[in-house]
Each structure stands twice: as C-alpha cells, then as structure tokens.
C-alpha cells in the first residue's frame, strides 16, 4: 500500500483542473451546438446514418489500428535495444527519435516533401541515376504517407514508455527461466512479455488514440480523399456550419475513445504486478556478438531513417539556395533574414524571442502537468481496481480522444466570458497544452509507481519514516526516471503545438510554430526559406530541451 493519503484529497486538484478546463468548455460547446436546431429530425438522422459517415468511422478505425500495429512492430525491438544495451550516443538517439513528436504537421509535410516529394532528394537522385524524366515515387497524398507519418510521430511514445520500463526489468527473471530449460523465445513470451504488458498496453493505447483522432496528417499528407472522424467534424463545423451534426460526431468519437480506455484500464488492472526494478546500469550490457551487432545496427538505422532523415532533408533545404536549377548552393540567407523586421510589424518576433516564448510556455506546461499528474498517478497506483479509480483513470484520457475542433471552440467561448474571462491571458496556452500532456504524464508515472514493492515502503515506515519521508526517500528515487519521461512528454507536446496555440494566442506573443505557419502561408522564396530555417531552429531547440531534461540529475533506482 502506498502511504496513507485520502484518495479524494489526491484527486481534488486534478479533477478541479479537468472540470474547469475540460468538462466546462466541452459541455458548453456541445450545449450551444445541440440547441441550435432540433437534432432528432429526419434529415439529421439521415445525415448521421449515411454511408459516407459510416465510411468515415470505418476508415478512422482501420488507419488507426494499422498505424498502431506498425508503430509497435518497429518500436518494440527499438525499445529492447534502448533498454538492454549500452552504447555511445544512446541519449542522443533517444532525443533524436523524440523530435518528430515536436514538429507541427505543416512542417512535417514540408519535410516529407523535401525528401519524398516529386522534387524531393530521393526522386531527384533516382531520376538522375536511372535517367528518368518523371519522378518515380509518388508518396505525398497516399495512404502510405498517412501510415509513415503516424509511425514517424508516435515511435517515440513506444520507445520511451516501453523502453524505460524494460530498462529496469530484472533480467535475472528471464535468465532463471533459461536456466530452468526455457529457450529464448519461451523466456520472452512467458516471462518478459507479461511483465512488460502494462507498459506496452499503455503505449499502444496512447498511440491508438492519437491516430484515431488524427487530423493534420490526414488533411495535409493524406489529402482530400481520406477523412477521419476528426476531419469530418472540422468539415461539418467550419465548412458547412452544421454544428449539431458536428457535436454528435464529437460525442461518437469521444465515446469510442472512452470505450477503448475502459477496455485498457480493465486490462491494465489485471496485468500490473509489483516487480523488483533494477538500476539500468545493472541490466544494460555493451553490444557484443555478430547477431546482436547486426540487429543493433539495423534497428538504429531503421529508427533514424524513419524519424530523422525527413527532418534532415528539411534542414538541408533550409541552407541551400532555391535559385540555379540543378546546382544547389549553400546559403545562410534565410537565417539572416529571420532576424530582420523589414516591415516594422507589430507581431514580428525574432527567432530568439519566439524561442523564448515557446520555452516559457513549455516550462509552465511541464510544471502544471507534473503538478497535476503526480497526485492523480499516485491515487491510481494505490488501487487501480477500485471502481472510482477505474472511472477516473478513463476520464483522464478523455481530452486526447476529444475532437480538438470542438474543444478548441469551447475553450474560446467558455473561458472568454464571465465568470471566467481568460481571453487575453497568455496562460490559456500552457493550460490547453497541459490538458494534452496530462494523460501522458499520468501514463508514464503509474507503471513506475505501481511497480514499487510495498515491502520497501512498509520497511521504511517500520523503521520510523514519516509518510513524507517515505515519499522523499523511497518513492521519488524509484520514479525519477519515469518523472523525466513525463516531463519530456509535457515539454515536447507544448513546444511544437500549433492548433490550440493559434486559436488562443495573443498575436503579440508568437511561438516558434505560429511564426513558422505565418511564414509558410506566404508566397516567395524568402518566406518559404525562412519557414524552413525556423523549423530547423525549432528542431534544434527541442533536441536541446530533451537532452537537457535527460541530463537533470535525478537519483536513479538503486542509488539509495
């Protein structure tokens, strides 16, 4: 049992936050939408049950399921690699694979276009080598592009959530099985996999829900022939102004996410068990042997190809001149231009200012998300099977499954009018980011908190430690690593977020993503070049941020 704290007390802060910044705006928006016209009219039912809408729901499931499966297939061996082996440049690899998570969709589209577009590096190379007249690869606006982008974005979730947990699993357990006669795959299937199940299912759920509510990727990389529920909600809300239908679709999307989450928490309750977690130093070994070396090389290559090569293509394009066909010349013109406010614009922000604003929002988000996430994770880890906890657990995930179009409008309306007038407050942005980061923080913390052996706490308590001392000296060191993962998620979610930021931001305080979007929406080489340059700066900022978080000295397991 965890130290005695009343569960209601633990839930107080997180639930108040959700009530004000989630349920209230969402409820207000749904109420405003549904009262605009009678919803149970014949045309309404006909629209809702039309084959088009059924097709949309089917496609949403199909692409989300397939994307999640692919992400796991590539991510799990990667997690194993990060968990079991010690090699140079590992924390850099971990940071690099996390960068996609930060990048706004339009930037990712520009990156994929720079790499695989009709005039991207790959097509140009193939055309030259094979002497072709037309680009051989069509990648943009295909189903493949959607799947690739989803894997690109979500790989880091599996690598971090599963990898970090795996890295602390006692390898002696599977060694013991081997000694007792199990072969390698038996030991993995019967011992390691069941122990990993809570972390895998947590990661899979997050990836699935992210893909299920996918919007930007579908719109920009998939193109007009693909539509998920979220895209349909956007279409009904903005293009057709059919708010009642949009509201009902939002509710459907929400209910499906809720059902998935409930299923997961049922599963998770059965799967989790206390474990002896070990310091990662005790578990990780250097890469030895031909087979291992081959595997490691292959998988590091694969992870980097998927996550970094598109971004590298974008970064390369930011330092080459567009002029002069064929011959590509190095230039820093776009970077120089970024620092000039030629038009004396009020909303201009130099890259350093925009970076400062982005970092300020991200830091606030980390503080808020951890502050709210800790008590919630604590309460959940105490007793996952309690009916109240199971319900609340599912509730925490709701913001991720909610239509961002609906919630965004609700945020704007509900929080900009009395009794809660925050419309001019720059704090709305970290608050909105916290809503997204919160479930990640809780998901990262719960498995670690749950795996703490109750005996340790009991022993500490028996030796006269107060509950606070137990937390300080037993729990915190044990979950240090998980807290870092949680902080990294909150940081990356905030620093690259565009949708909510563009809705809520004061134009005087542009972030890196909002500045990039402004530049991207204008014609002209200098504007496009600056957008690429600033995207590269965003990339570097996020790598720097993630490396800095990794470097924070938090007591590792086993150091007490």
């Amino acid at each position: 049992m965890l130290p005695k704290t009343r569960p209601t007390l633990l839930w107080l802060l997180p639930l108040t936050f959700l009530a004000i910044f989630y349920f209230y705006p969402l409820g207000r928006m749904l109420q405003l939408s549904l009262t605009r016209s009678p919803i149970f009219s014949a045309p309404f039912i006909a629209a809702l049950t039309s084959p088009a809408i059924r097709g949309v729901i089917g496609f949403t499931f199909w692409q989300a399921g397939l994307s999640t499966l692919l992400t796991l297939l590539i991510g799990l061996p990667g997690a194993y690699l990060l968990a079991r082996f010690e090699f140079r440049g590992k924390s850099l690899l971990r940071a690099l694979t996390g960068v996609p998570f930060v990048m706004p969709t339009l930037v990712v589209a520009a990156a994929f276009s720079a790499l695989l577009g009709p005039r991207g590096w790959v097509n140009l190379l193939l055309m030259r080598v094979l002497a072709l007249d037309a680009p051989p690869i069509t990648f943009l606006h295909t189903f493949t592009a959607i799947l690739c982008a989803h894997v690109f974005y979500n790989l880091t979730i599996v690598l971090r959530m599963v990898g970090d947990f795996w890295g602390h699993l006692d390898a002696h357990l599977s060694d013991a099985a081997r000694v007792l006669g199990a072969n390698r795959s038996q030991a993995f299937l019967r011992i390691t996999l069941p122990l990993l199940a809570p972390a895998i299912s947590a990661a899979a759920l997050l990836v699935f829900i992210f893909n299920f509510t996918s919007f930007g990727v579908i719109l920009v990389l998939g193109g007009p022939t693909f539509a998920t529920l979220e895209v349909e909600i956007f279409y009904q809300t903005i293009s057709l102004f059919n708010l009642p239908l949009a509201a009902v679709l939002s509710i459907i999307q929400l209910l499906i996410s809720l059902a998935m989450t409930l299923l997961y928490s049922r599963l998770a309750a059965q799967l989790s068990q206390p474990l002896n977690l070990r310091a990662s130093q005790q578990i990780q070994t250097p890469i030895r042997g031909h087979k291992t070396r081959l595997f490691a090389t292959l998988w590091i290559g694969l992870l980097l190809t998927i996550t970094i090569v598109p971004l590298l293509a974008l970064a390369t394009q930011s330092v080459v001149s567009f002029q002069g066909q064929g011959l590509r010349v190095f230039t820093l013109a776009f970077y120089r231009e970024l620092w000039l406010n030629r038009q004396g614009s009020l909303f201009y922000a130099s890259p350093s200012t925009a970076m400062g604003i982005s970092l300020a929002y991200a830091s606030l988000t980390v503080l808020l998300a951890l502050g709210l996430g800790f008590p919630a994770a604590w309460a959940l880890a105490r007793d996952r099977t309690a009916p109240l906890n199971r319900l609340l657990d599912a509730m925490l995930m709701l913001p991720l499954g909610t239509s961002s179009v609906t919630l965004g409008l609700g945020f704007l309306i509900a929080l900009a009018q009395p009794p809660l007038d925050l419309r001019a407050s720059p704090l709305l942005i970290p608050l909105a980011h916290t809503l997204v980061a919160f479930p990640f923080v809780v998901r990262s913390l719960v498995p670690a908190l749950q795996s703490i052996q109750p005996r340790l706490r009991q022993a500490a308590a028996m030796l006269g430690a107060t509950p606070a001392q137990v937390i300080r000296h037993v729990d915190l060191p044990l979950i240090g690593r998980a807290a870092l993962v949680a902080a990294t998620f909150a940081f990356t979610i905030s620093i690259g977020e565009f949708g909510a930021t563009s809705l809520l931001s004061r134009p005087e305080y542009p972030t890196l993503p909002t500045t990039i979007y402004r530049l991207l929406s204008r014609p002209g080489a200098l504007n496009y070049g600056q957008a690429l340059a600033l995207s590269t700066i965003l990339m570097l900022t996020s790598i720097g941020g993630m490396l800095a978080i990794e470097k924070l000295r938090v007591a590792e397991i086993g150091e007490f």
């Binding site: 038009q343 009020l346 502050g371 900009a416 563009s502 809520l504 931001s505």
Partner: protein, 344 residues
C-alpha cells in the same frame, strides 16, 4: 520542495485570474491569424485616442467567424476584423455586428460594399486566380491558359493542382469563380471535365503551392493561388529578379475576388472607440500598410501603392461575380455537390 511547487501552481492560477490593465481604457480587436500591422501605426492610434489596443487571435477565418457567432450577445471583443465575403452571410445572418456608416466609406468603391446596412465594412481584397510557372510553358512551347475553358483542352492534361473548397479558402474562392462563370447549371460539368483532364486536388494552399506547384517542389505548372502571388515571388525572391517567375490567369470570369470586412461587435461597451478604430482601418495610412503586412490589397481608392505593385500585380478586369445572398443560400450545397462529384 513539493510545497514550493504547489505554491508556484497556485501563484500561476492567481496570475491567470488577474489580467494586467495598462492604458486608461482598452479596445479589444479580434482578428484571424493572417492579421498584421506596423507597430508605429498602432502606437500612433493608441497615443491619439489614449487607449490600449489589445489584439486577440482566433484561428483562421472560418474558426474566427464561428467563434464570434457562438459568443452570442456577450461579445468576445469590441471589433472583429477578418470575415470575408465567403463567410459574410453566415456572420450577418447571426447578427453579430452593429451598423456603422463610417464617413470613409465615401472613398471606397461601391463594388466592395456588400452589406447595404453597413454592419460589415470592407477593408481589403485579394483576387484568387490561377498561377502558372512561366519557364515551364516556355520550355515546352506551350501557350499558357487564358480562360477557364482552356483548362479542359488536352494540352493541359495533368498540369493543374487545385485546393479542396471544403478545407481551403482559395479553394472555395475558385469554386465560386467556376459557379459565377459557368452558372449553377454548368459548373459541375466543368469540374467533371477537369477531373477527366486529371486535375490534382489537395487540401491546403501550402501543399498545393509549395509541394505540388512546379515553381516549387512539385510537377504541376498551374496552381490556384492569388493574383498577387507573382509580385510577392518577385519581392521576396532570394536574389533580386528581373521579373516575377510566375504569372496569373486573369481572363474574363476566371478569378474570384475575396473581400475582407471589419465590424463592430453587437453589445460592445466601447462603441465610440470601436468607430475610431474602424475609421483608422479604412484610412489611407492603414490601407497603405496592408499589402506588405497581410499580402492583400487596400479598398480605399485614395491609397498610394508601391510602384512594384502597379507593375506586377495581376488584377482581373472582370472577376466572376456572385451575389452574397446567392452564396449565403447555396454555399453548403455547392461544397457538398462538388465533393460528391470530384472526390467521391
């Protein structure tokens, strides 16, 4: 340590509750995310009227309009700038604006004044037109298209990329151009012809222009963009150019004019200041600031434009015209019919 942490949280919450007030009074201006203005102009306005002008962003045009409508009789700002003629009907029907007959309307040509009750006042316009890459047509000894009808010819097969009207505002404007030009009975036949001629459809302007247009990363030499895109290609080229590398098609009825409006939000408590702000936006000083800040063009006839614009801005003599009432009544239907014809 933990206690300090929560203290910080509470502090942050308190900070959120009290928004600092600067000037003696505040005028709140809600805008879409393409809005931009010179710093010195705002400062001059603030000094002259002893007011602190606060801008609130609200996403793109469609989102901003929805937001203003859903706020109902408790307006989120005093003034809203950014509703365009494709969304105007939605805003006017919802009654979000108060009428204001600004004296400066006298300097604005009647063609821009779409609301006879002067609830929404025109500020700027931009023409959505087809653009093409000049070099492509020169290298291939092909004459560039001059009208919409040309696009159905076999020599232009597979050369054009357009934006989805359901998700993109230039895409919607181009759909309106075809409805205006071919009529409600004819536009779908034209689109069927375009589909047969292998038109490419993407969801957003950025993808169309920067990923598919041959001037940039793509292979399609014709794209739906703005009559002003060529001059901005010229002005914002990497190295100075002799002339724009692209051109616009401005044949009869091939472009659609987007006009953006400003209005006083119903229920404001700053009516006087809001009027002053609107006069300011319609004044030649602000109007001259528009092109290089927002990439659209002033409606006030007394505005002096830069010489480069006189030279390279493509302005259609006869943009396709559609009555706002017609747009209002049929908009959703056209989008739905277009979607069924082109995408499904």
């Amino acid at each position: 340590m933990k206690h300090n942490f929560y203290l910080l949280l509470i502090l942050a919450a308190l900070l959120a509750a009290c928004v600092p007030e600067k000037g003696p009074q505040t005028l709140t201006v809600m805008t879409h995310d393409s809005f931009a203005i010179s710093e010195e102009l705002v400062l001059a306005f603030e000094t002259e009227h002893k007011v602190d002008v606060q801008f609130v962003g609200a996403g793109d045009t469609g989102t901003a309009v929805n937001k203003a409508i859903l706020a109902g009789d408790k307006p989120l700002a005093d003034v809203f700038y950014g509703v365009d003629n494709t969304f105007l009907s939605r805003a006017l029907e919802a009654g979000i604006f108060e009428s204001y007959a600004s004296p400066l309307l006298a300097d604005i040509p009647d063609e821009f004044e779409l609301d006879p009750e002067q609830r929404a006042l025109p500020v700027d316009y931009g023409d959505v037109c087809l653009n093409y890459e000049i070099a492509y047509f020169e290298q291939n000894n092909l004459a560039p298209p001059e009208t919409l009808e040309d696009l159905l010819k076999p020599e232009y097969r597979g050369l054009m990329v357009v934006e989805n009207p359901a998700t993109s505002s230039p895409g919607l404007a181009f759909l309106f151009a075809t409805v205006g030009h071919f009529g409600e009975d004819g536009y779908l036949d034209f689109w069927r012809g375009l589909v047969d001629n292998d038109v490419k459809v993407v969801n957003d302007w950025e993808s169309a222009y920067y990923s598919e247009f041959s001037q940039w990363g793509g292979t399609y030499p014709i794209v739906v963009s703005y009559g002003s895109s060529p001059v901005f290609e010229y002005l914002f080229a990497e190295e100075p150019l002799d002339a724009p590398p692209t051109a616009a098609v401005i044949g009869a009825g091939s472009c659609f004019r987007q006009i953006e409006f400003v209005g006083i939000l119903r229920g404001t408590e700053q009516r006087q200041l809001a009027e002053k702000w609107i006069d300011f936006m319609l004044s030649p000083e602000f109007q001259a600031d528009i092109p290089l800040q927002m990439y659209v063009f002033p409606v006030n006839a007394n505005t002096q434009l830069d010489e480069t614009f006189e030279q390279y801005l493509y302005t259609p003599d006869a943009p396709a015209s559609l009555a706002p009432e017609n747009i209002s009544a049929r908009r959703e239907q056209w989008i739905a019919d277009w979607t069924a014809m082109v995408l499904r």
